[in-house]
C-alpha cells in the first residue's frame, strides 16, 4: 500500500523545535558542563605531559587526544565514556514525554506522518551532540595552538575531523538506543534507568566479561602461557566478543585514526607485517580503511536500533 504525500513533511518543523528545546534546556547545560570540565582536565594533563617532551612528534596535535596521564584517562577515552551519557540524557524521554504531556495525539493529528516526528527528534538530538562535539574539537585545536605552539598540519586536521565524524556516529548509536527505550517504556525514569544500565554493562562489565567468556570457549594453552603470550584462539574470541560493545568499536576506530602508526586492530600474525616498516605512520587513507569496518559497525548498529524504534512507534497506540 502506497502512502500519499511525503514521509518527511514536517521533519524540518520538528527538528527546529526540538533543537531549540535541547539547546535551551538546563539538562543540556549540565551535560555540557560535565563533558567540558572533564575534557579540560584531561587536556590539561595531556598538555603538561607533551610540553615535557620535545616537539619531534609529527602528530603532536593528535597526541593531545590520545595521551593519558595517570590518574586521568585520555581525552578520547573520556569521550568514549561520556558521549553515551550525553546521548542517553537527550534521548531517554523523546517519545514517552510526548505521551505523558498528552501532546502526542494533538501533534499527530496535524498533517504529518509519525516518521517525521521520530526523524525530526532524532536528527535534532544528533545535531545537538554534533554542535557540542564540534565546539569541543575547536577547543582542543585552539588549546593545542596556544600551549604547544605548533600549527596543525593538514593531515592532523583531517584525522581529527575523522575523529569528529566517528564520534557523531558513536553518539548516534546511543541516541537511537535511548529513543528506542523511550518508545518501549512509558515512564521516562524507567527508560533512563534501563539505558544507563545498558551503558554501564557495555562500558564497565563487558570488557571484563568478554575475556572470561573467551577463555571458556577456547581455554588458554599452557604452552603460550609459559612463553608469557596470549593464546591466539582466546585472543581472537576476546576481541570478537568485545566488538559487540559500541564502546569497543569506537575505541578501535579512534586508535586507527588518531594513532597513525596503527597498522591493524586485531592480533597480528607475522605474515601480515612482512615488509612493514615498524613504527612508520600510515597514510591517512590507509588509517581510514582500518577504521572503516568499525565505523560501518557503528552505523549499522544505529540503523538497526532506529528501525526497531520506528517499527514499534508505528504500531503504538497514541492515546495516553
Amino acid at each position: 500500500m502506497r502512502r500519499e504525500g511525503s514521509a518527511f513533511q514536517g521533519v524540518g518543523a520538528v527538528f527546529v523545535k526540538e533543537l531549540s528545546d535541547n539547546i535551551s534546556s538546563v539538562r543540556m547545560l549540565m551535560l555540557e558542563l560535565l563533558i567540558v570540565l572533564t575534557a579540560m582536565a584531561a587536556l590539561y594533563e595531556a598538555i603538561t605531559a607533551l610540553r615535557q617532551n620535545t616537539a619531534e612528534d609529527p602528530f603532536l596535535l593528535l597526541r593531545l587526544f590520545t595521551v593519558s596521564q595517570a590518574p586521568l584517562p585520555s581525552f578520547v577515552a573520556i569521550l568514549g565514556f561520556l558521549i553515551p551519557l550525553m546521548a542517553i540524557g537527550l534521548g531517554f524521554d523523546l517519545i514517552n514525554s510526548e505521551h505523558n504531556r498528552r501532546t502526542l495525539s494533538r501533534i499527530l493529528a496535524q498533517p504529518i506522518y509519525r516518521d517525521a516526528l521520530l526523524l525530526g527528534k532524532y536528527l535534532a538530538g544528533l545535531a545537538t551532540i554534533t554542535i557540542s562535539l564540534t565546539a569541543l574539537w575547536l577547543l582542543v585545536i585552539g588549546l593545542g595552538l596556544i600551549f604547544l605552539g605548533v600549527p596543525p598540519g593538514g593531515e592532523e586536521i583531517a584525522r581529527s575531523l575523522a575523529f569528529l565524524v566517528i564520534a557523531v556516529f558513536y553518539a548516534g548509536v546511543w541516541l537511537s538506543l535511548a529513543m528506542l527505550l523511550s518508545i518501549v517504556f512509558r515512564s521516562p525514569a524507567t527508560a533512563a534507568l534501563v539505558a544507563l544500565g545498558i551503558w554501564l554493562f557495555l562500558t564497565v562489565l563487558w570488557p571484563m566479561l568478554a575475556p572470561a567468556i573467551a577463555q571458556a570457549i577456547v581455554p588458554p594453552d599452557p604452552r603460550f602461557a609459559a612463553l608469557g603470550l596470549d593464546t591466539p584462539g582466546t585472543a581472537i574470541w576476546t576481541q570478537l566478543l568485545q566488538r559487540f560493545s559500541p564502546n569497543d568499536l569506537f575505541g578501535e576506530a579512534m586508535l586507527a585514526v588518531l594513532s597513525p602508526t596503527t597498522r591493524t586492530l586485531g592480533p597480528v600474525f607475522l605474515d601480515q607485517i612482512r615488509g612493514a616498516v615498524m613504527g612508520a605512520p600510515l597514510p591517512f587513507g590507509q588509517s581510514v580503511m582500518i577504521a572503516w569496518p568499525q565505523t560501518v559497525g557503528l552505523i549499522a548498529c544505529t540503523i538497526v536500533l532506529f528501525v526497531a524504534g520506528y517499527v514499534l512507534f508505528q504500531r503504538q497506540e497514541v492515546r495516553a
Binding site: 504525500g5 514536517g10 518543523a13 523545535k17 504531556r101 498528552r102 501532546t103 496535524q110 498533517p111 504529518i112
Partner: protein
C-alpha cells in the same frame, strides 16, 4: 430501535463522515463493533455513552490515528487509513485532556502546530492572532502555557482548530473538567464554528450541554450505537413521547379535541380544567387552536422539552448494560 438505525445508515448525499460496519478489535474483543453512521455537512453530532463505550476509539479511527480492524470509513471523501494527510489537513482534533508544551507560550505552541500544518510565516501569525482573539486568549498570548487553567488550555486547543481552518472539528469531551461558566463559553464557541459551516463531532458526558448544542446524537454502548437521531426523535423512541404539553382551559369537550390533534399520544385529565398530553412534537399551537375552536378560555399552555438526561437514564436503566468495559 433497529429501524432508526437503518434509516440513519442510509447514505446521505451530503455526508462528510460516513462509517460502514466500522470495527476495532483489541485481541478478540470488539471495542467498536460494526457501527454505521453518517454526519452531514454543518451538523453538530454528539457521541454519548458510558466510559469505555468506544467513543474515543471511534474518533481515533476517523483520524487514522489507530488502525481499523474491519469496515470502512470516509472522511470528506478520503480514507483515513490510506490518505491520512488529506484527512488531517482538513480535520481539527481536540483530544480529551489536551496537552501543550508547558515551557512554550500560547503563541509558540500554536506556531509549532501551524508549521506542521505547512503554513507560511505571515499566514501563521495572522491566523494565530485571529484565533487567539476569538477564543479570548489574546492577552495571555505570550504567557507560558504552564500557567494556564484547564479552561484556557481547552480554548487554546480550539484555537488550534481555528488556525487550521478545519472543515470538521472533532472534540473529545471538550467540556469535561470545565466550570459551568467556562462550559457555556466553550459551547458558544462551538456554535460559532457551526455558524461558519464547520461540521462538529463531539463526545461528552455532560448531557444537558450536548443537548443544547447537538443537532443529532448517537448513544454508544459496549461498542455499538444503540440509538441515534435528534433529541426529539430519541425521546419518542425511548420515552415514547417527545413533548409533554400542559393545558389549562375551560370549555366543553376539550380533552376530546386535544386528543384528536395529530401527533398527540394520550391526554390525561389532571383536573376539570387541566390536561396533560404527550406528543411527539411541540403541539402548543394546535392545542391553542383546539381550545379556541371549542370556545374554551385558554389560561395556560406549557411545554416540557424532552431532556437527554431523562432519555439517557431511562435507556440505560431499561436495558442494563451488559459487559461495559472500563475506559482506557
Amino acid at each position: 430501535m433497529s429501524e432508526l438505525q437503518h434509516t440513519s445508515a442510509a447514505t446521505r448525499r451530503d455526508a462528510v463522515i460516513a462509517a460502514r460496519d466500522l470495527t476495532k478489535r483489541y485481541g478478540r474483543t470488539s471495542v467498536v463493533d460494526a457501527i454505521n453512521f453518517d454526519i452531514a455537512k454543518g451538523e453538530v453530532f454528539g457521541l454519548l455513552g458510558p466510559n469505555g463505550a468506544g467513543k474515543t476509539t471511534t474518533i481515533l479511527m476517523l483520524l487514522g490515528l489507530t488502525e481499523i480492524s474491519a469496515g470502512r470509513v470516509s472522511v470528506l471523501g478520503f480514507d483515513p487509513a490510506r490518505q491520512p494527510l488529506q484527512v488531517k489537513r482538513r480535520v481539527g482534533y481536540l483530544p480529551d485532556a489536551v496537552g501543550f508544551y508547558d515551557h512554550l507560550t500560547a503563541v509558540e505552541n500554536l506556531a509549532y502546530a501551524a508549521k506542521l500544518m505547512g503554513l507560511g510565516v505571515a499566514e501563521r501569525s495572522r491566523r494565530i492572532a485571529a484565533a487567539l482573539t476569538r477564543v479570548r486568549l489574546l492577552d495571555v498570548a505570550d504567557k507560558r502555557v504552564a500557567t494556564f487553567s484547564r479552561g484556557m488550555r481547552q480554548r487554546l486547543g480550539l484555537a488550534e482548530i481555528i488556525v487550521k481552518r478545519a472543515e470538521i472539528a472533532i472534540l473529545d469531551e471538550p467540556t469535561s473538567g470545565l466550570d459551568p461558566q467556562a462550559t457555556i463559553e466553550f459551547l458558544d464557541l462551538i456554535r460559532e464554528l457551526k455558524a461558519e459551516g464547520v461540521t462538529v463531532l463531539l463526545s461528552s458526558h455532560m448531557l444537558d450541554q450536548v443537548q443544547r448544542v447537538c443537532d443529532r446524537v448517537a448513544l454508544f454502548r459496549a461498542g455499538k450505537i444503540s440509538i441515534m437521531g435528534s433529541v426529539a426523535e430519541l425521546s419518542v423512541k425511548v420515552l415514547g413521547a417527545g413533548f409533554v404539553v400542559e393545558v389549562e382551559a375551560d370549555g366543553a369537550g376539550i380533552a376530546r379535541r386535544l386528543a384528536a390533534i395529530p401527533g398527540v399520544g394520550n391526554v390525561e385529565t389532571l383536573a376539570e380544567d387541566r390536561f396533560r398530553m404527550t406528543a411527539d412534537r411541540d403541539v402548543r399551537a394546535d392545542a391553542a387552536r383546539a381550545v379556541v375552536a371549542a370556545n374554551g378560555a385558554l389560561r395556560r399552555l406549557s411545554v416540557d422539552e424532552p431532556s437527554l438526561e431523562a432519555i439517557y437514564a431511562h435507556y440505560f436503566q431499561a436495558t442494563p448494560p451488559g459487559g461495559v468495559r472500563d475506559a482506557a
